[in-house]
Symmetry: C2
Subunit: 272 residues, 2 copies
């Protein structure tokens, strides 16, 4: 998918919402546990309830890997289910991979060939050659960690570098934006860092920002938008737990839809 | 396993070799492709041929993920096979994960519960809370990326930070060594950076260094040892392609053994 394709989705759905499929088998409603593949079944019902309100889904790999090969099967079938329901939805593998060239090529194969994701999140620590193998796929994207939403972001991302004029996350944005054009490269910027998003926009005015941290992590959608929206939007804002676990009984799909609708309606007001 | 347990293995086998199981289905010998599970079969024969010469195996997750759930099955069975052959061998999941706390806990579950790895490689970019959930498992280890062997290491790891007295990788070693003791935390340091290992030893005198980059990537075992060995050893040196693909026909096991023996014998001479 191109950036133009993403913008078309955003205009059509009046939404820049991404639903994070961090599906924890210990948190899904009891009655779903009785089905043959509870995680897949839960995901399908969440997708049914939200796909007209969201432009993207972002399964978090850890939650699938924790269940081994069965988890990978659920993940692959979740991707296929999204494609069958709405082929234009953007699918992000939240994998945060990063390794040397020949290994990066294997990860690209895993997410772009073995499964049909549009994008994969990547850690920048190992530099350019850990990213570029993913960019060899036409229409596929990398989402490079810029500034993350967790407390540990302080440990390294905020270190001043060189002559003291920039911090590490700013260096990542600077360099990373040169690795590919705004049709290929996005950056993760945590919603809990809204005060810094204005500065980030100066570094990457045209690239999408994928913003997690709304909801359970405490970030404010309004503050993110005020600081980071562009004339075309330029934001994909993710919510996970606040949607997935909005309800705990048989009405969980309806509760997830209500939580998503609230976010979508707020987003519709902010869109240019 | 404790550091003492690792040192006992090193003394017993006169080796600090780790064999990287980066098993690429496109590179394994033709006759193995005819078996039911070629990757698993290949791994078993490599393990049979090398386990008395190595103290560790390090499967590279990307090579398994590229084959989806089937790859994860092969990985899990490879781990179980190593345990059945030699329960004292150290098993490292080369996964280079790194995510916020609740996600990190899920990755820990994947590698330490769903599979029985001793250690997992982690990227430091997201800081302490992306690492500590792994340290809650007694006897398990994290291997934090310090200085990597690839060209992209130059992009960020060598940036000078703060007042210019340290580089990013040195800050990672400094902080990372405080996250856990030398029975829990190791660091990845590429063999292609042997000139920097002496300085690294000053920062982390007691922690194990996991050193990839010998063989196909061009690092020198001699130079790594000269710069990095401690009075107990303190090194685990990995070779992957130069062992796995030493032979291309039915004698590949023998060829892998010869390549491993050459490294083990060189290591025996260097051991304190």
């Amino acid at each position: 998918m191109t950036a133009a394709g993403l913008y078309e989705q955003i205009r059509k759905k009046k939404s820049f919402l991404c639903v994070g499929l961090d599906t924890d088998i210990e948190k899904i409603p009891q009655h779903i546990l009785k089905t043959a593949s509870p995680v897949l079944e839960f995901n399908k019902r969440i997708i049914d309830a939200t796909h007209d309100l969201t432009i993207a889904y972002k399964p978090n790999l850890a939650f699938y890997e924790a269940r081994g090969a069965a988890g990978w099967n659920d993940l692959k079938q979740t991707v296929a289910y999204v494609r069958s329901i709405d082929p234009d939805i953007f699918l992000i593998a939240d994998a945060k991979r990063g390794d040397i060239g020949n290994t990066a090529a294997m990860y690209a194969k895993a997410f772009f060939e073995e499964m049909d994701f549009d994008a994969v999140t990547l850690s920048p620590y190992m530099g350019k050659d850990s990213i570029t193998p993913f960019l060899e796929y036409d229409g596929k994207w990398v989402v490079v960690l810029g500034l993350t939403s967790n407390p540990g972001a302080e440990d390294f991302q905020f270190l001043t570098i060189g002559s003291g004029e920039a911090r590490l996350f700013e260096a990542v944005l600077h360099q990373g934006s040169g690795w590919g054009n705004p049709d290929q490269v996005m950056f993760v910027v945590g919603a809990t860092r809204a005060d810094l998003i204005r500065g980030i926009r100066n570094i990457v005015p045209a690239h999408f920002l994928l913003v997690p941290g709304i909801g359970a992590q405490g970030g404010s959608l309004r503050e993110v938008v005020d600081a980071g929206i562009t004339d075309q939007c330029g934001l994909i804002v993710n919510a996970s737990r606040s949607i997935l676990y909005a309800g705990q009984d048989e009405g969980f799909g309806k509760a997830a839809r209500e939580a998503s609708t609230a976010l979508q309606q707020e987003m519709a007001r902010y869109l240019p």
